[in-house]
């Protein structure tokens, strides 16, 4: 990011402050790179949102959002994801304080909230498909399963990532690379919560209103 970051010729190994500066600059670059990935992921989500909106009134004589969606169920899902975002923040604060046990505890809580969210979504999908309202039923349901399913897959990948991260914290300790990965994980997790705000507004709330 800065010209100093590239300059590795100046007395290697003799200047600790310089080496530390290099490490910080490297992490800033990695965070920036991950941010660019998140932005490209946002474009993917936006395209799927556009597809969903175009298809959202093509019910093909099938059920509408009003018939299918239970808003109190969705509100609970939303709260689970929001709580997991909050506890993820607390986990990162524990990491900055160098408290491994507290970090692992908050990550576990975050994992359980996230797993609860995924379980509720799987339950919802299963019930819809059981009733014959799977993705093949109508354009609206194709769009619904694609959009909500893509978000759910992201959250499930986040759970896998969290499990690996907890394993690394236990086996490797709070090394700089482990901390750096955890920072990127927290960016990913908060990002998914932002996408969910769009999902519950456009898919569920507007779906029930239509």
């Amino acid at each position: 990011m800065t010209p100093e970051a590239i300059d590795t010729t100046a007395a290697p190994g003799t200047n600790l402050a310089h080496a530390e500066h290099d490490a910080t600059a490297r992490q800033a670059t990695e965070a920036m790179g991950f941010w660019l990935y998140l932005m490209s992921d946002l474009v993917i989500f936006a395209s799927i949102f556009a597809t969903f909106i175009v298809l959202s009134r093509n019910f093909a004589g099938g059920p509408t959002g009003r018939d299918l969606f239970d808003l109190s169920f969705v509100l609970l899902e939303t709260m689970l994801l929001l709580c997991s975002s909050g506890t993820c923040g607390l986990a990162i604060l524990a990491m900055h304080d160098g408290e491994r046990q507290r970090l692992l505890a908050w990550l576990t809580v975050t994992f359980l909230f996230g797993a609860g969210f995924v379980a509720m979504e799987v339950h919802e999908f299963h019930a819809l498909i059981q009733e014959g309202n799977g993705p093949q039923r109508s354009g609206f349901l194709t769009g619904f399963f694609t959009l909500v399913g893509t978000h759910g897959l992201h959250v499930a990948s986040g759970l896998l990532w969290m499990a690996v991260a907890m394993g690394q914290i236990i086996t490797k300790g709070l090394t700089i690379p482990v901390q750096s990965r955890l920072m990127r994980f927290s960016m990913f997790w908060h990002f998914l919560d932002i996408v969910w705000v769009g999902v519950f507004t456009i898919v569920y709330l507007l779906g029930v209103l239509q």
Partner: protein
Amino acid sequence: MKETVDSTGASHGNTRTYTIGFIFSVILTLAAFAPVMIGGVSRAAVFTTIFSAAIIQILVHLHYFLHLDTSSASRWNVLALIFTIMIIVLFVGGSLWIMWHLNYRMR
């Protein structure tokens, strides 16, 4: 020596900022669900409420959870976000415009 890593190169929050962000998000979520679930409000008012609640909540998440601000440290993150939003406006706005128009002409 305490070694830490920043998310966006900007300041990383503290318990207070995460708590404020969390409370704001809960209030905004309830504000969006309540008029739809309880009803009794005009359609225009419901639409205005849920869309403004969503936009404010996204800004709250960006600021309190992802620590985006106007500081020079997060400038490139904000620039990348603005560029992405421009692409999205073209993608989503353009797609919806074309599809709406096609639908209109095929009736």
